[in-house]
């Protein structure tokens, strides 16, 4: 428990009346260690500590609450605000076709997420088409088809390994067949792979998706800001999906990404099954990050 950890560092604060730069410096060091252990980005952790210090300084230490509890509350509240003050819904069109797209690094959980999203939206009585736009990974299309079969949803794919052609044809097909929701699975790609980033920019241009979701593994470390920044610059994604939260990774990458791109975390994936998808709760992730 964080407040207990900070208690030792803050022993000297009791009876001092107010929190000062001097009497909280030890606990700030401890908080920085906790954030870095939780995979929060170096620079983001630094900025976070500065914000917390600003909020904490001058605060009166009243008798009924320990200094450790006071600082913990400030940290926790600040973390919750940063993680999800602008919680938002998926952009679903009232009429016409809604198009959603999953993008991200290799292995982050995009294909599985597309299946989960399809299952969730199907429960809202939508006519869904999954589009297999990963034309590279061995058996990627087969993987999407097998997931889709479990939930009775169609998958669109073409013979040629051409992602741009796939999405163009998918749009035509969807219009002909009266689908109202298209979910595009794309290939995992590195943010430093120029050709692949051009592909995703082109696909965005062709499809003009209502919603682009950046799918990121919760165990990602310091590199999270690099990929998030580049993907955001390339496709200006609408939201983030944090996956594999059923593990024990602290998930600090979420704070790093939020601080750097300012986009909302929309979903959390916490299991391999197709029903393991939850709406994001900032307070839960905040306590998880703080360990």
């Amino acid at each position: 428990d964080l407040s207990l950890k900070l208690e030792t560092a803050l022993k000297k604060v009791r009876g001092q009346g107010r929190l000062t730069e001097k009497n909280i410096s030890d606990s700030l060091r401890e908080i920085r260690r906790i954030l870095l252990d939780a995979d929060v980005n170096y620079k983001v952790a630094k900025e976070f500590i500065e914000r917390v210090t600003e909020k904490a300084l001058g605060k009166e230490v009243i008798a009924s609450i320990s200094p450790g509890q006071l600082i913990t509350k400030i940290i926790f509240d600040e973390l919750v605000v940063l993680l999800g003050s602008d919680r938002s819904e998926l952009k679903i069109n009232a009429s016409g076709i809604t198009t959603l797209m999953a993008v991200g690094l290799q292995g982050s959980g995009k294909t599985t997420f597309c299946g989960k999203l399809a299952k969730r939206l199907k429960e809202n009585k939508r006519k869904i088409l999954l589009v297999a736009a990963d034309v590279y990974r061995p058996a990627a299309i087969e993987q999407l088809k097998q997931l889709a079969e479990k939930i009775g949803i169609s998958v669109f794919s073409i013979e040629q390994p051409d992602a741009r052609k796939t999405v163009k044809e998918a749009l035509k097909f969807a219009a002909q067949q009266n689908f109202d929701t298209l979910i595009f699975d794309t290939a995992g790609r590195l943010h430093v792979d120029g050709e692949m980033m051009k592909e995703i920019a082109d696909i965005k241009e062709i499809v003009s998706p209502n919603e682009i979701l950046f799918v990121v593994d919760a165990m990602t470390g310091q590199d999270a800001v690099n990929s998030a920044k580049t993907f955001n610059e390339t496709v200006d994604f609408d939201g983030i999906v944090l996956t594999k939260l059923d593990g024990d990774a602290r998930g600090g990458a979420a704070l790093s990404i939020r601080s750097v791109v300012g986009k909302p975390i929309k979903f959390v994936s916490n299991g391999e099954k197709l029903d393991s998808l939850e709406v994001f709760h900032p307070d839960r992730l905040a306590s998880r990050i703080l360990g």
């Binding site: 061995p138 993987q143 594999k244």
Partner: protein, 278 residues
């Protein structure tokens, strides 16, 4: 006279940022910086170049030199078990390894013991074809231990040189999945005592501090004889392996540097450490 070394604090902070940004981890970075301070106390050269070189030495020394693989690789068949959490690159790495072994003249068979995930065996099948290796697979939902068992049995009977077992991605925090892994390992050992001769834990270069826990937990269930770091063609440095190697003394065997079949390299500690500052 050896006063408290006056290393440029701004330099040390910049270096601390580089090391932490490489996922090396707060505690280990603090320890390295402290060791560097102590070392440079008695050094005439306290330039920034000297500091960086001292840090590079500290890091490089964490890696164990590969013990000779000679006697393992002469086992017939030489069995490798591939394990790790979800999506790190296990199946792809097996494809690459199969290709390398085939090119060195070995007769290779792979076992699709991921009987859980959608299209897992289809994916491995494509890699096996690309590598000209043979494949054993069963229907979805089959017992992974039986796939492993059948693969090794065939490898023995038909005199394969190398047999590799692909397993499902599993989070180390899931006890049932970790005991399934234990079962797979024991099934392999049952059909061929002494096997698996190598068990590689596959780690994603983008993983943060969770890597240390992953290694600890997988080691509890099966002897991990080597690490493979994948996706080093990205910008992640894979620095979380330093803590693992420091604590567990496990060699890093290979690194994955792309999605093609020939994108696997033997681990080189010097270039790995250089890349952190690159």
């Amino acid at each position: 006279f050896t006063g408290k070394i006056k290393i440029d604090d701004e330099t040390l902070e910049k270096l601390e940022e580089i090391l932490i940004s490489a996922d090396i981890g707060y505690e280990l970075v603090e320890k390295i910086v402290e060791n560097v301070r102590v070392k440079l106390k008695s050094e005439k050269d306290r330039s920034n170049i000297s500091i960086i070189n001292t840090i590079k030495d500290e890091l490089t020394q964490i890696f164990v030199t590969e013990k000779s693989n000679e006697e393992k690789i002469d086992k017939k068949p030489y069995v490798i078990l591939i394990v790790g959490v979800n999506g790190v690159g296990k199946t792809t790495t097996i494809g690459k390894l199969a290709y390398n072994f085939k090119r060195s003249g070995a007769k290779v068979i792979v076992g699709a013991a991921d009987t859980f995930r959608a299209a897992a065996s289809e994916q491995l099948n494509i890699w096996a074809e690309r590598a000209s290796a043979d494949l054993i697979h069963k229907q979805s939902g089959a017992d992974p231990s039986s796939v492993a068992f059948d693969t090794i049995k065939k490898a023995i009977d038909e005199k394969y040189d190398v047999a590799m077992i692909d397993t499902a991605g599993r989070l180390h925090s899931k006890t049932n999945l970790m005991s399934e892994l234990d079962k797979i390992k024991r099934a392999i050992n049952k059909v061929l005592p002494g096997a698996p001769h190598d068990t590689y834990l596959i780690l994603d270069a983008t993983v943060g501090q969770n890597a240390l826990i992953q290694a600890k937990e997988f080691i509890k269930v099966t002897d991990i004889t080597g690490l493979v770091i994948t996706k080093l063609d990205g910008t992640a440095k894979g620095g979380s392996v330093f803590q693992i190697c420091n604590a567990q003394k496990i060699p890093i065997k290979y690194i994955g540097v792309g999605e093609r079949i020939d994108d696997l390299q033997k681990f080189d500690s010097t270039s790995f450490v250089e890349a952190i500052f690159g």
